[in-house]
């Protein structure tokens, strides 16, 4: 989604730097988000996620470089009116406004006629399951309710690009799940950019992502590319050692081999090693060979492990987003 610019691009960031005083919050960042994808902005605190997000929304001006949303600079409000929806992270709702009138005001400013604005606002609040809050003052909403009203304003009028900064932060698991379902429900209808600390959430909803650290882009690409899901598989097993020999062909006992040797000799396997720290057998494979994919490798390796009656606690494709982020952002 974000490695090649072949398909249509919804958001393009070119060589963007944002400086606050002497500190570079974002340093020469370039990335692009494909139309219709769900794109994650990932990184630890201070990585520059929110700054990047704020520049995409036009809240902050880049010190250098340029950004485009649907081909326009983010501050070209007239061109982007109604096409860009944003859920900012720390923006409080106006406490004295009632939820309904706030959403109607926002809809009117998006260019929706006064006749349609109420319906549009009601549809948006219904989507986040908050119909009963229409007449409630925003200041009286709980954190979870306010977050969903903020999400409703971001989704008002079906914008083409929706930016969500920490959409599930501080929500209880049930509401966070509902918010994720709303995001998934929007997949394909618009381009979504989600900034979050919650890696499992991002892995679940995103098609592609960029990993940032200290303002720099550490990696970007599709989720498969980032997690190497198409290059390696991991098996949660006890240490294999050399173990008793196993024959890959029951009919030929002479061909019996130690499990690690047997795995390494599989034709599609390029590297097989055991990670003592994580208790995982890591198998890299050559995906360029015909008919070789992660599922084929899992099948072949599992066969060997089952032959040996080795207890298997889990199998994952790739190293997992969390591990990938830890690897990339753990540099001194």
């Amino acid at each position: 989604m974000a490695t090649t610019e072949s398909s249509e691009v919804a958001i393009r960031v070119r060589g963007v730097t944002k400086t606050f005083g002497l500190k570079n919050a974002v340093d020469d960042l370039s990335l692009f988000v494909t139309t219709g994808s769900v794109f994650g902005l990932i990184g630890p605190n201070g990585a520059g996620k929110t700054t990047t997000f704020s520049m995409m929304a036009g809240y902050l001006k880049p010190s250098q470089g340029s950004l485009e949303v649907l081909g326009f600079a983010p501050n070209q409000v007239e061109a982007l009116r109604g096409k860009l929806g944003v859920l900012p992270q720390d923006a409080l709702l106006p406490a004295n406004d009632r939820v309904g009138e706030f959403l109607v005001d926002m809809a009117r400013l998006q260019g929706i006629s006064s006749n349609d604005a109420t319906k549009c606002a009601r549809d948006a609040i219904e989507e986040v399951d908050g119909q009963t809050w229409w007449g409630v003052r925003c200041g009286a909403l709980s954190h979870g309710m306010a977050k969903r009203v903020q999400l409703a304003q971001a989704l008002l009028g079906d914008p083409k690009v929706v930016l969500l900064d920490e959409p599930t932060a501080g929500l209880d698991p049930r509401i966070a799940y509902e918010v994720r379902q709303i995001i998934k429900g929007r997949k394909g209808r618009c381009t979504l950019v989600v900034s979050s600390h919650n890696l499992s959430e991002l892995e679940e909803v995103c098609d592609a992502a960029a990993i940032l650290d200290r303002g720099r882009l550490m990696a970007s690409g599709t989720m498969s590319e980032l997690t190497a899901a198409t290059e390696e598989v991991r098996f949660k097993v006890p240490p294999l050692g050399q173990g008793p020999a196993v024959s890959l062909s029951p009919a030929d006992p002479a061909a019996a081999k130690a499990p690690m040797t047997a795995i390494r000799e599989l034709p599609m396997v390029t590297i097989a090693e055991y990670d003592d720290e994580r208790g995982e057998l890591i198998v890299h494979f050559d995906r360029t060979k015909p008919d070789v994919d992660a599922e084929t490798v899992i099948g072949a390796v599992l066969w060997i492990l089952v032959q040996q009656r080795i207890r298997i606690s889990g199998v994952t494709k790739g190293r997992g987003l969390e591990q990938r982020v830890m690897d990339l952002t753990d540099q001194p």
């Binding site: 923006a91 406004d97 400013l109």
Partner: protein, 279 residues
């Protein structure tokens, strides 16, 4: 969308917010109480003055004309104002002096609180920043204008009920005074909106607005008007009431022109800065 429509939507919503806010309601209450207090005290004061100086109605008229002429620097204006119901003239003085205080208290957090709590971010992706800024300015102007109009209406009602002037006289003079106060109010609102937009912390904005108003008072009135440094007197919007009330057209236009120059300059500079800044 037309920028005027954007401005209207921002201003309408902000008016609603101000009128409903506790601060707006309290300020309205205080203003009305002040207006009422003036109303009840003033006739006794006038009577006492007349008795003390043993003046008849005509002599009283002459004294008023002389006093107002001196205040406004124009005998014809003084003569004209002497015909106005004295309560309304008094209220006009009070309103003009009260306006900076009202503007400061209602307007100090117009933009700064939106910046502090980042609520401004809901607006800036939907409206041009200049429209947002100008909408905020017009909302403040409208709310203060409304507040002073309510004060006027109260005094008009009392003046008419006590048969101190005919309804026509009361309403004509009352409207004239109120309309005269509007451009002056606009100038103060422009300054307050500009100051408010420069700070993210409403308390700092309040202090800065108060300091700015005091500086303008000191430079424009104390040094400019009282110290006869003419060019400095242009810095204090409350000096412009005399010009706008003048019987000389060129003086009226000068007063209106300076007020609107204040409005244009503050809105231009303020929205220019607001467009460039990070929110």
């Amino acid at each position: 969308m037309n920028p005027l429509v954007e401005t209207w939507l921002v201003a309408a919503r902000d008016c609603r917010k101000n009128v409903r806010s506790v601060k707006g309601i309290v300020m309205a209450g205080i203003s009305l109480l002040g207006a009422l207090a003036c109303t009840f005290k003033l006739p006794k004061f006038e009577e006492a003055m007349a008795q003390m100086r043993d003046l008849g109605p005509e002599q009283m008229h002459a004294v008023k004309a002389q006093a107002f002429g001196k205040i406004y620097g124009d005998e014809l204006t003084g003569e004209a104002l002497a015909n106005a119901p004295i309560k309304l003239v008094f209220l006009f003085f009070i309103a003009v002096w009260l306006v900076p205080l009202l503007v400061m208290i209602i307007g100090f957090d117009g933009i700064s609180s939106d910046l502090q709590y980042r609520s401004v971010r809901y607006w800036t992706i939907r409206s041009r920043r200049a429209s947002y800024y100008v909408g905020k300015f017009f909302a403040l102007w409208a709310v203060i204008g409304l507040l002073t109009l309510v004060m006027q209406l109260m005094i008009w009602g009392i003046t008419i009920a006590r048969v101190e002037a005919t309804p026509l006289e009361t309403i004509t003079w009352g409207l004239r005074f109120w309309v005269t106060s509007l451009p002056i109010t606009g100038a103060w609102c422009g300054i307050a909106t500009l100051t408010s937009s420069l700070f993210r912390t409403p308390m700092l904005s309040l202090l800065a607005t108060g300091a700015t108003f005091f500086l303008l008072f000191f430079l424009g009135l104390v040094i400019g008007k009282w110290g006869n440094v003419t060019w400095l007197s242009y810095l204090y919007p409350n000096n412009f009431d005399a010009w706008i009330m003048s019987s000389k057209n060129e003086r009226v236009f000068e007063g209106l022109g300076v007020c609107f120059a204040f409005i244009l300059a503050t809105c231009g500079i303020g929205s220019g800065i607001f467009i460039q800044r990070d929110v």
